[in-house]
């Protein structure tokens, strides 16, 4: 009897919480990691979800296939690195949606010989949750 009572209270609480919940779009799928060498077509700042800082998004055209990709890099405030249209860029990331959009969540960018890491090998975002992360950290 007590168990059911607890369950109902929990359900009511859950219902209240559900109404406040927000949509999380995509996760970094480690099984769908790809490597793309392309040319920067466009650089944008786009809000990924309501109330969150705008994201740096790059439109990239793969050099070998001329296939367009949209690359989500990191929150704009985290990325302190200059990229320009027309430049060559290599991306390692997770292909989270295919088709017309070809959306890639970036893990590592290679640009002009520099390596810029924005997520770890499991997809952990460098901009959150750790003392060790530094802004726009890069490795050579």
């Amino acid at each position: 009897m007590k168990w059911h009572k607890f369950l109902w209270i929990f359900m009511i609480f859950l219902g209240l919480r559900l109404s406040a919940a927000q949509q999380t779009p995509r996760f970094y799928n480690v099984d769908k990691e790809v490597e793309i060498l392309g040319k920067i077509q466009n650089i944008m700042m786009e809000p990924r979800s309501e109330g969150r800082a705008p994201f740096l998004v790059i439109e990239l055209e793969e050099k070998s296939t001329q296939k367009p990709f949209t690359v989500e890099v990191s929150p704009a405030w985290f990325f302190e690195y200059d990229l320009h249209k027309g430049e060559s860029l290599k991306i390692i990331g997770s292909l989270v949606s295919e088709g017309a959009l070809n959306l890639v969540m970036a893990r590592q960018l290679r640009h002009r010989g520099e390596i810029i890491t924005v997520r770890d090998q499991h997809g952990f975002p460098s901009w959150s949750g750790s003392k060790g992360n530094q802004r726009g950290r890069r490795k050579r």
């Binding site: 369950l7 929990f10 359900m11 859950l14 919480r17 559900l18 919940a21 927000q22 949509q23 999380t24 779009p25 995509r26 996760f27 970094y28 799928n29 480690v30 099984d31 929150p75 969540m105 997520r119 770890d120 499991h122 997809g123 952990f124 975002p125 460098s126 901009w127 959150s128 949750g129 750790s130 060790g132 992360n133």
Partner: protein, 416 residues
């Protein structure tokens, strides 16, 4: 105990103790870590079971997986969770970190929990299945934080290093102290050994020279008597020579006497001696030799000071020092005063001479060292011997052209 033996006796057991402490602590921390991991895993499973008890009903009520899972995203220890269908396809997920769901196809078949390392710390992962009322199979993927365990382990590690450091510091301080103590002990032992050897040598020399002095004095006495006889019998024009010969023999006799007495061990006849009495005794001796210069000698009166010493020896010693001071000061005054200390008395003999040169200062107390044309150079040597026989200390302070101050520290009067 020799240095090497000490090392073996104390240092090696200490190193052993430190190693035991280190090993024990390491095992202990590993044991705690294993147990805490087990505990956290049980907690993870219990959380998963609780969720699995609720999820079927929520799914049956038509809530979407994303809506359901996001409600748990604020749970303190749940970093991420996902709901998978029977084909292990992600239906919904929630994560505390932006887009972070480290689920690989390689891991979806796992039955046991596993740990992954992330910049936010270690994370326990578990996939477990459950069924709804319509017999639909789902999988729940849960990532559980081990931050509290890591904090505890970090705390334990910190305590361990602190204790280890403390043990090492205490041990090092102990050994520094021990080595210093031992070094001092060895040095003292060496000094005592040297002193013993010196005394032995001194005793032998003393015995030898006393014998020699005795053997020399006897013929000298005979020679002196012969000179007396000759003096009476020779013509008057030769009496001057015989008289001179007798004087020279007496001079040799005195030198031998002084030399002999300087090597004899001193026998003290101590008594309480007031400063006034002592200074009067010395003044009386000085008057015989330095009658014309007595006004230069200033014995500062003090009715309080008294010492416990052999009157004859102390007087002789003080006489020698004042005599030297008078000779060094030429026309300047010599001050002799006494100060009462706690249990001792300090007597100061201050001259106004040119002071000691570096070499003179170094050799001042050496026997047979003298800068005078007359004298054997045993005055200061004897003075120090007398003071040391009283358990006191004789030292001096010298500055160029500002004279020398002799400091005599000697036990004060003895109360019955």
């Amino acid at each position: 105990m020799k240095r090497k033996d000490l090392l073996l006796f104390f240092f090696l057991p200490f190193i052993g103790l430190v190693l035991i402490f280190f090993t024990f602590s390491s095992f202990n921390r590993a044991y705690i870590k294993d147990n805490v991991e087990t505990l956290v895993e049980e907690q993870l499973r219990a959380t998963a079971e609780l969720l699995k008890a609720n999820l079927p009903r929520l799914l049956e009520h038509g809530y979407s997986p994303d809506e359901i899972l996001r409600t748990y995203s604020d749970e303190e220890n749940i970093y991420y969770l996902a709901l998978l269908d029977a084909d292990r396809k992600v239906l919904g997920w929630s994560s505390r970190f932006d887009g972070y769901l480290p689920l690989s196809i390689r891991e979806v078949e796992r039955r046991e929990s596993w740990i992954i390392s992330s910049p936010a710390g270690l994370i326990f992962n578990l996939i477990s299945s459950f069924m709804t009322g319509q017999n639909d199979t789902y999988f729940l993927y849960l990532g559980y934080s081990l931050a509290s365990m890591e904090d505890m382990m970090a705390h334990s590690r910190r305590n361990f290093y602190m204790m280890f450091g403390l043990v090492c510091v205490v041990g090092i301080l102990f050994f520094i102290g021990l080595f210093q103590f031992q070094t001092r002990f060895l040095r003292k032992e060496k000094e005592l050994g040297e002193q013993k050897q010196e005394k032995e040598r001194y005793r032998e020399i003393s015995a030898f020279t006393s014998g020699m002095a005795h053997e020399i004095k006897n013929p000298l006495n005979s020679l002196a008597l012969m000179c007396d006889l000759m003096h009476k019998k020779v013509p008057p024009e030769l009496q001057k020579e015989t008289s001179l010969g007798k004087q020279e023999i007496q001079k040799i006799s005195r030198l031998v006497e002084q030399f002999s007495s300087s090597l004899k061990p001193l026998k003290l006849n101590r008594e309480n001696l007031a400063w006034e009495e002592l200074s009067e005794s010395v003044r009386a001796s000085l008057r015989n030799e330095f009658e014309m210069e007595m006004e230069r000698v200033n014995f500062v009166p003090d009715e309080v000071v008294a010492i416990y010493a052999d009157k004859n020896l102390i007087s002789q010693m003080l006489y020698n020092l004042v005599k030297n001071a008078l000779e060094a000061s030429r026309d300047e005054a010599v001050v002799v005063r006494a100060e009462k200390r706690k249990k001792s008395v300090r007597i100061l003999v201050q001259d106004q001479g040119v002071g000691f040169s570096e070499e003179e200062a170094r050799k001042a107390f050496d026997p047979f060292f003298t800068t005078k044309s007359q004298g054997m150079g045993i005055g200061l040597y004897l003075a120090r011997k007398i003071i040391e026989a009283h358990g006191g200390r004789l030292s001096f302070q010298s500055a160029p052209d500002r004279g020398v101050v002799f400091l005599i520290d000697i036990p004060g009067e003895k109360y019955a």
